[in-house]
């Protein structure tokens, strides 16, 4: 393949810069969240996060090297490989704090469910690109549902409710933006709404309780409810300008659960206040808007859906995580994209950004 000068002239700058900005602030906050006053020596979490950031940049550039349309023919292969990895987790996986999500690959552990999100976007984009036009009926919607349900069930068993929620939301987004008739989606929602009350009495009391506390954490004042309160206090106590880097007291006293992953935004908002939180919010909004713009300018349906899917991952993860830490949404274990500690997630998101850049830069290629 000859190098094409048009790749340079059409290089997508904005998207990767936004992503790197968020990742950088994220790594800094990981440092603060895992910082112990008085502790000497390097900060292992922050350093590892920076290493993954570098690996993620490499992955992003690697993804640019080939035309994204090549993926259109290998979507199912990629999907199958990733599904196999997800299914291997229960057998070969490593247990960390009660759930089995990681596969050990030599010195590093990876989380196949993170890669699965990207794989699902690719396979769904391929599916909708191959089906003509708009106003698709249930027949076109069944395959995406099945393709989503398989990994979702395996991930639910890990258990990782948060990732399942994101996968579901991303799939719904792609169904809508992929052209499935809204009427069919409405029917689907109606079926779920009818089935739920029928299943409810058959659940065990503890299962019912778990669902209820999930929806309303106040029912568990010593567990999830307490976490939400502490998170809200952390965010709120930042006031307008924040307590300053490394000075978040809620965080320093280990009061927040999972302060370097799921609740990292509380740490950030406590230290940087309303102003800092708004800046971060603006960066995420810009990322999402840029992703949507690139999608609408793409030259083919596959590109459109690819860009939309990746953008949907970023959007939903950010919204669910921010909603959770500010007490707007139920507590599910979801990380803040680009921001939370976690190598697999960062690597996949940056590779996803690479895909969107790829779509953007090749929009004039025919």
């Amino acid at each position: 393949m000859r190098f094409d000068r048009r790749l340079i002239t059409h290089f997508e700058w904005l998207l990767p810069l936004l992503a790197l900005a968020v990742s950088g602030i994220g790594a800094m906050t990981v440092y603060s969240a895992t910082y112990t006053p008085g502790a000497e020596g390097p900060a292992p979490f922050a350093l590892r996060q920076l290493t993954w950031l570098a690996a993620g940049c490499a992955a992003m550039l690697a993804v640019l090297a080939f035309d994204y349309r090549r993926l259109e023919h290998s979507g199912f292969l990629i999907y199958a490989l990733l599904l196999a990895a997800v299914l291997a987790v229960p057998v070969l996986g490593r247990v960390v704090s009660g759930s089995r999500r990681w596969l050990a690959l030599g010195p590093v552990s990876i989380q196949p469910s993170e890669f699965m999100k990207l794989g699902l976007v690719i396979v769904l984009a391929q599916h909708f690109a191959a089906t003509p036009g708009v106003r698709l009926g249930p027949r076109e919607a069944v395959l995406p549902l099945v393709l989503t349900a398989l990994p979702a069930a395996a991930i639910l068993a890990q258990p990782d409710l948060g990732t399942v929620a994101v996968i579901g939301l991303v799939m719904l987004t792609m169904l809508v933006l992929g052209g499935v008739r809204l009427r069919w989606l409405g029917t689907l929602a109606a079926i779920v709404a009818v089935l739920a009350p029928l299943i409810w009495p058959h659940l065990k009391p503890y299962q019912q309780r778990r669902v209820l506390t999930f929806v309303n954490p106040d029912l568990d004042p010593l567990g999830a409810g307490y976490h939400v309160i502490q998170s809200k206090i952390a965010v709120g106590s930042g006031l307008v300008w924040g307590k300053g880097f490394l000075h978040g007291t809620q965080n320093q006293l280990n009061f927040l659960p999972e302060q370097h992953t799921d609740f990292i935004f509380s740490v950030f908002a406590e230290e940087w206040g309303f102003v800092g939180a708004l800046v971060l919010l603006a960066l995420y909004l810009a990322l999402v808007l840029r992703g949507l713009v690139i999608a609408s300018r793409a030259r083919d349906r596959f590109g459109v859906l690819l860009a939309l899917g990746v953008t949907a991952i970023v959007f939903w993860q950010a919204v669910v995580n921010l909603g959770m830490t500010t007490g707007l949404l139920p507590v599910v274990g979801i990380t803040l994209p680009f921001f939370s500690y976690g190598g697999s997630s960062l690597l996949c998101l940056l590779a996803g950004i690479g895909l969107v850049m790829n779509v953007s830069m090749r929009r004039y290629f025919f």
């Binding site: 709120g236 307008v240 999402v288 949507l292 500010t326 290629f365």
Partner: protein
């Protein structure tokens, strides 16, 4: 690379989808605006309030430990209870000057200051602002002192919590066990749901039934002031008490057995041969579990652990002793089953037999004269068993010992149960990589040499012979009542059959009966008026055989023989089986152990229907077991009721 097949013409994104994408854009805007508004609300509108709550961590969780389940004996008497205790809780983060506070506290409590420091700074996985229990069960003076000086003691508070209480002190201590604060290593090995500071069963049934007994801690979400004093309770979740256990243990019989064993070291297990229910389990020396409930002190713990008599060990299930002549019933069973002897086979005992270059003595120097299997069991003639042991061979002996439940743990739900040793040629090969020597069979035939068994195994062996060959898993819990009132009956558990001929059982039983009931028997001191009792005495040598004893430099007491007695009664319809060992008794089983068992049997058969059930018994629905006991007494032949 330009024109690889492209499905859809470029830019041909339908207008409707363009519209949907534009809508998505608008949705993203709105959602982020909502989050922004939420941030404004939390950080600006309610910010100052949140800031003040964040200082000193004003909203805390105070855990309220659950009351552990109560444990009753079979007649509804309370064996383990809870009573309220005032615990001193210290939150180091609330105290500016910790040394100063602890010094003051030590003064009020009459406690040594270093000990408080030690407790306060012991390594733990305590989350910040979680209180440390410095001292459990403070007396009333202490409570008053702390209440009046609260302002001088920032970070110190009193908390009322349930404390474990064992009303009978050391009674059945080893079976009941004790509780203690969970250790870091116990927290680490995935004990689900436990948190630092939780109490956990550490031994006995407290450990084995911890999941049933522990309940679920509750807690309060409280708001505190800058000194750590609670301002108000925001949310509360009530604790759920643990489940209740009704044991098969008979408190009255247990007490009789404890008293009968007295100061002597040893163990006694009484169980029901019809179902494996433990009626009494004694292990001496014992300890007082109340010491652990109030928090064992370091010196007390060290004393218990370093005591050479090992009072923490449950000898009934962990002590492995050579069973001595009590083992002869297993050898006799094998000899009869295999046809090695008939009831009429006779052997002449002249006080010993030579084997190789060794002379194996009978315990009676002058010899027993002509013996058959019946009289050899009754008079415990060693020479007879040397002979038939050789005919049966060590592997034959081992086979029948195992059928009667020796050589493997019984499977009782108690920690660290031992299985004893039943040697055979394979075992010797594996263990020592040596062939079996014929002379060793002679030692094995009289329950010496490598043979060991636990008192529980020997009681279970008596029970198996009593009930005709069924091995039950010994169990001590009859019923579990969950906090929601649901009952779970623990059913008898048959673990195996000995597969013995009726004639063999009858002959062994009749021989064991005459051990007690005839004047030539070695166990006549176990007699109880009006009851036919079967038994077998045993005297086991502590230091291997003969000469070794003189060479050993153990203390005089440590080299004395153990006295054994196993029994079951009434022979016609057995309802109690007993295994008993008195360690280092210095005299034979008939002289020392049989009288101990006699007291237990006498209590069992002469009291009416056990002690009058206390009021609690009605509450616990025990109609069935009490009733069945009565029936059993009624069924017993009238001859046994001379009253």
């Amino acid at each position: 690379m330009a024109s690889r097949h492209v499905h859809v013409a470029p830019r041909e994104v339908p207008a409707e989808l363009q519209l949907r994408t534009a809508t998505a854009l608008a949705v993203a805007f709105v959602v982020f605006a909502l989050i922004g508004a939420r941030l404004w609300y939390l950080q600006v509108a309610r910010g100052p309030e949140m800031r003040s709550l964040s200082e000193n961590n004003r909203i805390r969780i105070v855990r309220v430990p659950a009351a552990r389940g109560v444990v009753y004996d079979r007649h509804g008497e309370i064996l383990i209870d809870n009573r309220p205790s005032f615990d001193v809780v210290f939150v180091p983060e609330d105290a500016r000057d910790r040394r100063h506070v602890l010094r003051k506290l030590a003064g009020f409590l009459g406690e040594e200051e270093p000990r408080l420091h030690q407790t306060a700074h012991a390594p733990s996985k305590r989350p910040p602002y979680q209180g440390i229990v410095l001292r459990r069960d403070v007396d009333w003076d202490g409570v008053v002192a702390l209440e009046t000086h609260q302002l001088d003691l920032p970070g110190v508070s009193l908390q009322v919590g349930p404390r474990r209480y064992y009303p009978f002190g050391p009674l059945a201590a080893h079976l009941l066990g004790y509780v203690g604060e969970i250790s870091i290593s116990e927290l680490a090995d995935g004990t689900n749901g436990y948190r630092p500071g939780d109490l956990l069963g550490k031994a006995g049934l407290e450990k084995a039934w911890d999941a049933e007994l522990r309940g679920e801690a509750g807690g309060q979400q409280v708001e505190v002031d800058a000194l750590g004093r609670r301002v108000r309770v925001l949310e509360e979740e009530h604790d759920k008490p643990g489940g209740t256990l009704t044991l098969t243990l008979d408190r009255d019989l247990q007490e009789t057995a404890e008293r009968a064993l007295g100061e002597a070291d040893g163990a006694l297990v009484a169980l029901d041969p019809r179902n494996g229910e433990i009626l009494a389990m004694v292990s001496h020396p014992a300890y007082d579990p109340n010491v652990f409930a109030r928090g064992v002190r370091r010196e007390e713990w060290r004393a218990l652990v370093q005591d050479r008599k090992r009072p923490l060990n449950n000898r009934a299930v962990q002590g492995q002793f050579p069973p001595g002549s009590t083992f002869k019933v297993a050898v006799a069973t094998g000899a009869l089953e295999e046809g090695v002897v008939t009831p009429f086979t006779s052997v002449s005992c002249s006080g010993g037999i030579p084997y190789g270059n060794h002379f194996f003595r009978c315990w009676r120097k002058g010899g027993h004269g002509t013996m058959n299997i019946h009289s050899a069991v009754v008079q415990s003639c060693d020479v007879f068993f040397y002979q038939i042991g050789q005919r049966l061979g060590v592997d034959g002996i081992a086979e029948y010992a195992r059928r009667l439940g020796l050589g493997l743990p019984t499977g009782i739900a108690l920690e660290h149960e031992k299985g004893g040793t039943i040697p055979d040629t394979r075992w010797k090969r594996r263990r020592f990589n040596q062939p079996w020597f014929g002379g060793e069979t002679l030692s094995v035939a009289i329950g010496q040499g490598y043979v060991t068994a636990t008192p529980l195994q020997m009681a279970n062996l008596a029970a198996t012979l009593a009930n005709g060959g069924t091995r039950y898993r010994p169990r001590y819990v009859k019923r579990v009542e969950a906090p929601d009132g649901s009952l779970r009956e623990i059913e008898p558990d048959v673990v195996g059959e000995a597969h013995l001929k009726k004639s063999t059982i009858a002959q062994i039983q009749s021989a064991m009966r005459d051990v007690v009931m005839t004047d030539s028997g070695t166990g006549k001191k176990a007699r109880v008026a009006g009851v036919t009792i079967a038994g077998k005495t045993g005297t086991s040598q502590v230091v291997a055989m003969g000469e070794d004893r003189k060479r050993s430099n153990l203390g005089a007491e440590a080299t004395r023989d153990h006295a054994w007695f196993i029994a079951f009664a009434p022979v016609e319809a057995p309802e109690i089986a007993i295994g008993c060992i008195v360690e280092h008794a210095g005299a034979g089983g008939g002289a020392v152990a049989a009288p101990v068992v006699q007291q237990v049997l006498e209590r069992y058969f002469t009291r009416d229907q056990g002690p009058a059930p206390p009021p609690a018994a009605q509450e616990v629905k025990v109609a069935a077991p009490v009733g069945s006991d009565r029936e059993a007494h009624a069924v017993r032949p009238t001859a046994h009721h001379p009253l």
